[in-house]
Assembly symmetry: C2
Homo-oligomer: 357 residues x 2
Amino acid sequence: MALDLTASSLDITRTICDIPSVSGDEAMLADAIEQAVRPLAHLEVIRFGNTIVARTQLGRAQRVVIAGHIDTVPINDNVPTKDVDIDGEPHLWGRGTVDMKGGVGVQLKLAAELTEPVVDITWMWYDNEEVAAALNGLNLLSAARPDLFQADFAILGEPSNGQVEGGCNGTLRAIVRTHGMRAHSARAWVGENAIHGAAPILARLAEYRAKEVAVEGLVYRESLSAVRISGGVAGNVIPDLCEVEVNYRFAPSKSAADAEAHVRGVLAGFEVEITDAAEGARPGLDAPIAQQFVTAVGAEPRPKYGWTDVARFSALGIPAVNYGPGDPHLAHHDQERVPTAQIDAVERGLRAWLTGA
Amino acid sequence: MALDLTASSLDITRTICDIPSVSGDEAMLADAIEQAVRPLAHLEVIRFGNTIVARTQLGRAQRVVIAGHIDTVPINDNVPTKDVDIDGEPHLWGRGTVDMKGGVGVQLKLAAELTEPVVDITWMWYDNEEVAAALNGLNLLSAARPDLFQADFAILGEPSNGQVEGGCNGTLRAIVRTHGMRAHSARAWVGENAIHGAAPILARLAEYRAKEVAVEGLVYRESLSAVRISGGVAGNVIPDLCEVEVNYRFAPSKSAADAEAHVRGVLAGFEVEITDAAEGARPGLDAPIAQQFVTAVGAEPRPKYGWTDVARFSALGIPAVNYGPGDPHLAHHDQERVPTAQIDAVERGLRAWLTGA
């Protein structure tokens, strides 16, 4: 399916949603994007796996990365897209419309249109964002081609309701274990029940009141949640092990070590094994270029709660924000849909800033 | 392997342990038993699947069923049997020595030896006791041949340390559920965490103090235990369901309906689904024949905690007790072993009663 980048952002979004590209299966969409941008004289195009990079080389004083992932979570009877009206407002409905082909549609249109932006732009459309970090196209590209990550600012088109969402919380996972002693459940008092032993873990999590932490003027709301629990051997055995997996989402002012110490403190007295940790990203809104961007697009900055790839840019020392159409609460939802007006608004906002209008 | 029933109970036990007969694989042992008892003129022998029945028809005033299962739980490097000394006391070590081929060994010896017992005896050696009730040989036989279950008293050779253990607790299983609402764990406050919601369930189970209940002079200790817990969707999702499986072991003075009401009371406020219930068996020691038996074998009656097939006899209106060599705590244990003196003692006890000595 050929991609016409002179079409509207909405129609480009529709077309790239209707080319299914569940994580691991992005080749056809990457091909379509490459074929659409390769002929454009103002862009240097680099392909890396199913990640496409297209950049201007105008010698501008500043360079901005504008990026979006092209994969989606699995389809659930919600492709192809449909036009639907909700409360009189037109929406594009279907998998990927929110996360995040609306943002990619706008980016593709502007990549073709803006031959003379006021800053140099490195467009990046990458694969495997919805799966393990080891497969993430942006992650792999940054390892293989660090030269492409020389930039003053980065914008990720993740859904943010057309507002600017700065930074993101960090995330840490841990397994909390209780141990006991097996026995036949007919003689329960001979053993020690590890599931009963987990009662204070759940009580502490249920009572836990998460902090709100201000970072560079934005307020990040934290959380500490059980995401899994398991224990038990058989229907007639007192279990000797119970495992509770917890997920701590922590403000970007904290390091992973701070987060670990906090979780160990809350769950003091229990065996805690940290299995996974990724630091958040500070909003980065104190950089002058970021302030200019926020002013130009006319948005009110908000904190981003979910972890996004802005944290990768942040870790590379590049201030980065999320800016895209769609309600993040509808990401991965079976009724995923984006108000078409938000697609238009993000297109206008980005164009205004990139053309200095 | 031919079975010599003129050998000692210990040697018969050794031989039938060394013929592996894990549940479902009892045919070879059933064959050996059938071939050993078929030639005995004082016994009428009936084979039903891998269950062997052998009975005297002496026209005695009373009839006693003496039964034992011939299957074991899976072998774990503990067959063939070995003679071992523990603290100077000789033991037979290996799978089945306790549960319950020691008891079956004694029964086989006495079945051959006692041509003129003072009561008529129906010996039953049955398969599939260690697995689902639907496969249990005693259960199937009682449905197919209820005429074989006309008796005044029943003795099951389950391990009871050579003492008489009367009746057994009942058992009830239930699933206790909490419901919540899924959400991304980065925005935990949008959802409702079903695992956190299970905190009071575990707290109530941990705080629960089980009763001791006297029934016909024996004291039954109850218990209420979590045996399994599960919940969770993915590492970044607030779970909407948590399930706790509980097992209530209740005194034989309570009906299954009593037990259900008790569990629903303890877990009031939560969704409780009863999945399985089996009533216990009253000790049956008030029957005169039972009292004579206890006196003859010279044992002190104790309560049995674990559910055994005495409950099937009890449900048929036949008073029934457990009487066999071996420590029930070592049943299913990888170091399963029986003091040989207990095998001898049970043989002497049963012989004394059955011969009126």
